[in-house]
Symmetry: D2
Subunit: 280 residues, 4 copies
């Protein structure tokens, strides 16, 4: 995701890039005219630092390594699908140095990242958000300020849990229909013209599952992580969330059975392994 996003940035701003694998930064520099940094300390000198990493754990590590160089007036924009609580801790640490923080996770997948038409749900102070917008506009078609620091990550986690719930429940439904002798392609067609439709039924189940392609664009392990954050968010506030809890458990089963590195749509293969029915 980060590669094309940083490409759009380089089209508007003087952009330094850093990646754990130096050849990736070099390739980015060649392709988009960005400047590949030798190390994080070089990257740390940018006015605005944009992070896009697997989890908040890596964000904390990377910012920890930069820490000595960060100074008042800089802004960190974290596009990771992170953990609201961790982000609040990170933001507190940065605030002590006068560094701003906006959590700005994105939705739209690799397609949206390439076309520069992602959706962004942002959390932070109005001032920090105001500065971040100009940067985010490089790669986003929709940018919504949803609340204080952590709010962006919270909304992203809930969004991805809703995706997970819709995907898995579509799998349960199609399994039952297949067992009853219903044509799944036609069932999906009419569901997509009806009240049960969702992004999962419209853009995932047919294209990835019924097609048997399961193209890897968003890893199951990451969806499971995000869904877990959504359940944590609810439980930490004392709420009862029985559907979130059931979906979180099912994604854990899928991750345990299939490993974290398959496409998230492959989760439905767990239902197939239970029922012996192939969804096609």
């Amino acid at each position: 995701m980060g590669f094309p996003m940083a490409g759009h940035l380089a089209g508007r701003f003087e952009t330094r890039v850093w990646n754990r694998t130096a050849s990736v930064s070099a390739a980015h520099a060649r392709r988009y005219g960005s400047r590949a940094c030798a190390d994080l300390l070089e990257a740390a000198q940018a006015e605005v630092i944009v992070t896009c990493l697997p989890t908040s754990q890596e964000v904390a590590e990377v910012l920890g390594m930069m820490e000595g160089r960060l100074s008042a007036g800089q802004l960190v924009i974290d596009c990771t699908s992170g953990d609201p609580q961790r982000s609040q801790e990170i933001a507190s640490g940065l605030a002590e140095r006068g560094v701003g923080f906006v959590d700005a996770p994105v939705s739209g997948g690799t397609a949206g990242a390439s076309s520069g038409r992602l959706s962004v749900m942002a959390g932070g102070s109005p001032e920090d958000f105001g500065r971040a917008v100009q940067v985010l506009e490089s790669f986003a078609a929709k940018i919504v300020h949803v609340g204080p620091v952590g709010a962006g990550h919270a909304v992203k986690a809930v969004n991805n849990m809703l995706l997970a719930v819709a995907l898995w429940s579509a799998g349960e439904g199609l399994s039952a229909l297949a067992a009853a002798g219903v044509d799944l392609g036609r069932a999906l067609e009419v569901i997509n013209a009806s009240s049960g439709r969702s992004n999962a039924t419209e853009n995932l189940v047919g294209q990835r599952v019924l097609s048997r392609e399961f193209p890897l664009t968003f890893k199951l392990g990451l969806l499971s992580k995000d869904a877990g954050i959504a359940l944590d968010l609810a439980r930490r506030q004392g709420l009862a969330s029985p559907l979130f809890a059931a979906a979180d458990a099912m994604l854990r089963v899928a991750k345990q059975q299939l490993g974290p590195d398959v496409d998230h749509s492959a989760a439905l293969q767990v239902l197939e392994s239970w029922s012996g029915i192939t969804l096609r």
Copy 2:
């Protein structure tokens, strides 16, 4: 639903109407130029009989009362959101008299019924479906033949279960976000531009729940009935459906707490009563 649907029928075909409340038939006749039947026996003489009732139980009762008058060559089109197994039993009984049967439940709500742009998921033999299409085109924009008798009801039940799952899980998510201080209108706006969107988030949660209007267009009791049929469908075939099972339980809680006659979107008031958080 049936009133405007039969109105569209009357625009294309000579149409007889019957309702348990005679004044309703009379009003229909005045408004659409249909012919109000004095009793079911009069209605039973139609070439094609279209039923649209709360459950398959009422369909069985109404057809039972017509039974003596039905004869070979007639066709019953059942637009009820019915039970696949009951429909197969009803169709078997009709077949003994040479009467065809197509289960043809609709989606699109009262708005779709008024505009004549419903979606229909139909089950039946190819011949019966072929005859039914001409009738269904009066009020439907999309008509899909999904399989043999019962398949239409099966797909409708699954569709409505997916709606229920999406609605309830959206409620869980918005409750967690509200408790975390996130603006729900903005969260919903960005979810609707992201991968977690569904018909429930796009067309129900904002318009009916956050607005606090809960307009009655589709009863909670009927959604709970449909969701139950979807779970029955899966369980009867030996399948494990943990999310369907959890959602079925939650709809039963809602129906027990709120009664069956509120709008289905009011189910989220159960989550509100638990958390003390109003979704607005």
Copy 3:
């Protein structure tokens, strides 16, 4: 189960035995001095007919084959773990011929059957129950009249669902403890001296799971069937039963993954296949 139960009967009463496999009846006659019947019609002449079959489906079939010979004054005692609704239908049919019916499922396993110390939960009219008690005392240490026809099967289904819930949840708990480095034998020892203990933790998990023996005394498929009856019982009455629903789904997963013929305690192997942790 039925073999030793009928053995105890033969110790007190003149007893005819029938089994789908004739050699089983012959072996019973040799061992216990019962009379092996050549066919069901011969068995049908007994004053009291005791059935003990896998499901109510087989009970209906066997009684259907006997039907022509049954006459007023006879009593059927059904020790099957059956379905309350089917039993009420069966009892209605028998009542038309003046034949009584008591559902009298048993608990205590093969050990209780051998020792003649089973527990019986009986449903039926007070008169029929009164007659049945004398027969049931042959093999039962505890006989409780829980209500009208079907009540015995309802209580048995709930009992077995509670067993299933306790077994599966013990598996979830021990998996978590094993992953945390806790000694499972010691954990089980202290749980069995604490408030979380159950028949499952006291008599199944250590002896069958931690021992890795999984001796076949009660089939997973039958436990899943009983749990399903308990959930049906609750749902048919409109109740919300989220834990029953979740446990029913998990037993279906286990039955799908392991087949119906393993011991019910093997269900925990599903949790092991998910986590990669062996419970020992």
Copy 4:
């Protein structure tokens, strides 16, 4: 719980007591001959310090206030039903001062505390456990060393989750039986002689729920907290625990609806409020 436990201690050892409410310490001193401490610093001078508090949060606070006075060679025994992770953090802090730590939660309720016949599940090093045993024997009939620091709290959390699962599922079962016209007292009697029995069915449901007494001996809020710790334990290790997840959600519903301060058995009043059926 702590009051009679410290009473047993005072029967064997020179015992100092401290409570947030000074009159409680004074009453203890009068009744058992212990020495009431004016403040925590006085208590901090004991060779062995025994804590029994609502959650690990209070343990961390109390030990934090004592910290300046603690020195090498002392031992902390924490009888709180705590959080394994927090306990490991607390133990690490104490280890830096040479102070040992054993988590030693108890089961047996107020009755077991009074009679000095509690069960203890202990976590800690073999040396620390060895010292702790002599103290724990004052009030415990069974003491099991289940693993390193945190293991005791982990086993206790799982034990209490199993209690919660058994209690709630018994409520679901009895609701279904009551709706079906079964006598609940008799149903419970025979379940308690059958394979579905548990400590909850044997010692809670009849005595507290069917009796309508709900005597306050263990607060719902604390059971919900413990069940949450058990689910956290499983989830932190990546495990899927669908029944734990469903039970955790239901306890949260109960705590939200009834408040944290009622007896844990009152959780079944939630099922009653849904169904309209009183369990008696």
